[in-house]
Amino acid sequence: MKIMQSSGVPIYQQIADNFKGDILEGRLKQGEYLPSIRGLAKDLKISVITTLKAYEMLEQEGLVTAVQGKGYYVNAQDTQMLMEQHRRKVEEAFLNAIYSAKLAGMTREELVETLETLLRLEEM
């Protein structure tokens, strides 16, 4: 797990996103436990409360369940539904981009080109 201290994304968010990815893509399976809160804090050299906050976020999203004294285990996931939710988020972001592009007077070609450039940059 790579944690960026000054990426602008809060660290707890980065941790939550990482585990979310692991869960959605099946690297963390149903019933498996997340690393212990203080163990992870130690490994990532971050505070306990930041780790706890990340785990609480995952719990709120229904991805994991907390068991007193034992930690957090991965719930059974309706992966189909979660993927669908993810897709909807992507569509939403695209719609926003299209709207802004219209405001800026960008052509369809320019917009597509921007997306392709960004994709290439991501791959680098």
């Binding site: 809060p10 707890y12 212990s36 809160i37 203080r38 163990g39 804090a41 130690k42 050299k45 971050i46 505070s47 306990v48 409360i49 930041t50 906050k53 930690g71």
Partner: protein, 309 residues
């Protein structure tokens, strides 16, 4: 967030000639690292001394680990053995040798692990690779090494609570990093059982280990909470020169430059700035602390002025 307290305090009062420590309610969350932050003379050391029992002249109630009071701390070995304290002064007699210091700690505390102690001394580079210099005197150690010796002493014991007064101050950046790692190891040892309390001026260096913050000013607690909650309670606002005078009504201690302004306000007050061309950012613990400290320093100045007027 709900939590168990490693220490609870009620109406702690300690009066000096020109200073009063007055803590209505104190709760140190168990299983976390708590930072005591405040200006010089704000009362951090006084509070830690009271918690550690090195200062017994105070009023108020203290509860340790949910069931022991401060008399137990003096008498009951279960409490005494479970608390490790390091101060800023000369804790060990200057003329003692390292050997004597080791023997003393073995005598004083059950659960002092001599092998672990020697490992820690090595790790902290007091005896850098060389044989343990038994005959070296405390007075010949640097300030940094003195604190390291104390830290090794408390970390070599089987404790549940560490009270550390300015542990990072005399340490160089490398050692501060090591200290943070050692404290994280300590907290992880028995998931959720062990607690660390430390005072510090080096907020930035210690931010990555701080879970809970208590800001003390003029002998009182002026702000406290879990760091992640405080980072949502406050927000950094940056804006253009043209909006500065309006913004200054909402943002106290706004700092201004020829390019614009910057300051911290409560997140709930952000609505009042709507319509302005501003950018916002999550604050660091250091920014929050400075903001809170400035506010209360300023208030104190007004108070004093009123008193003298």
């Amino acid at each position: 967030m709900e939590f168990n307290s490693a220490i609870e305090g009620k109406n702690i009062l300690k009066k000096y000639k020109n200073f009063t420590l007055d803590i209505g309610e104190l709760k140190i969350p168990q299983g976390f690292a708590t930072a005591l932050i405040g200006e010089n003379g704000a009362g951090k050391t006084t509070l830690l001394d009271i918690l550690a029992g090195t200062n017994l002249e105070y009023k108020g109630e203290l509860t340790f680990f949910g069931k022991y009071d401060d008399k137990d701390r003096e008498k009951n070995p279960d409490v005494k053995n479970n608390i490790g304290y390091t101060g800023t002064g000369d804790y060990f007699f200057p003329r003692w040798t390292l050997k004597q210091v080791e023997e003393l700690q073995e005598l004083l505390f059950d659960g002092f692990d001599k092998n672990r102690y020697r490992e820690l001394l090595k790790e902290l580079a007091i005896v850098s690779g060389k044989a343990f210099e038994d005959s070296k005197k405390i007075s010949n150690l640097s300030d940094g090494n003195k604190i390291k010796l104390m830290l090794a002493g408390v970390l070599a014991r089987d404790t549940k609570l560490l009270l550390l007064d300015e542990p990072a101050s005399p340490l160089d950046p490398l050692m501060r990093d090591k200290l943070c790692n050692m404290l994280r190891d300590y907290l992880a040892e028995n998931e959720g059982e062990k607690t660390v309390v430390f005072s510090t001026h080096n907020i930035t260096d210690m931010e990555s280990i701080t879970d809970y913050v208590i800001i003390v000013e003029q002998g009182r607690i002026v702000e406290q909470g879990f760091v992640e909650d405080l980072k949502e309670k406050y927000i950094v606002v940056k804006g253009e020169k043209k909006d500065e005078s309006f913004a200054s009504r909402i943002i106290s201690n706004l700092s201004s430059s020829s390019y614009g302004f910057e300051g911290i306000c409560l997140s709930e007050d952000l609505d009042k700035l709507s319509g302005l061309d501003i950018a916002v950012e999550r604050p660091t613990l250091s920014q929050i602390s400075v903001h809170v400290m400035k506010q209360y320093s300023a208030l104190a100045m007004v108070d004093n002025r009123e008193k003298t007027a």
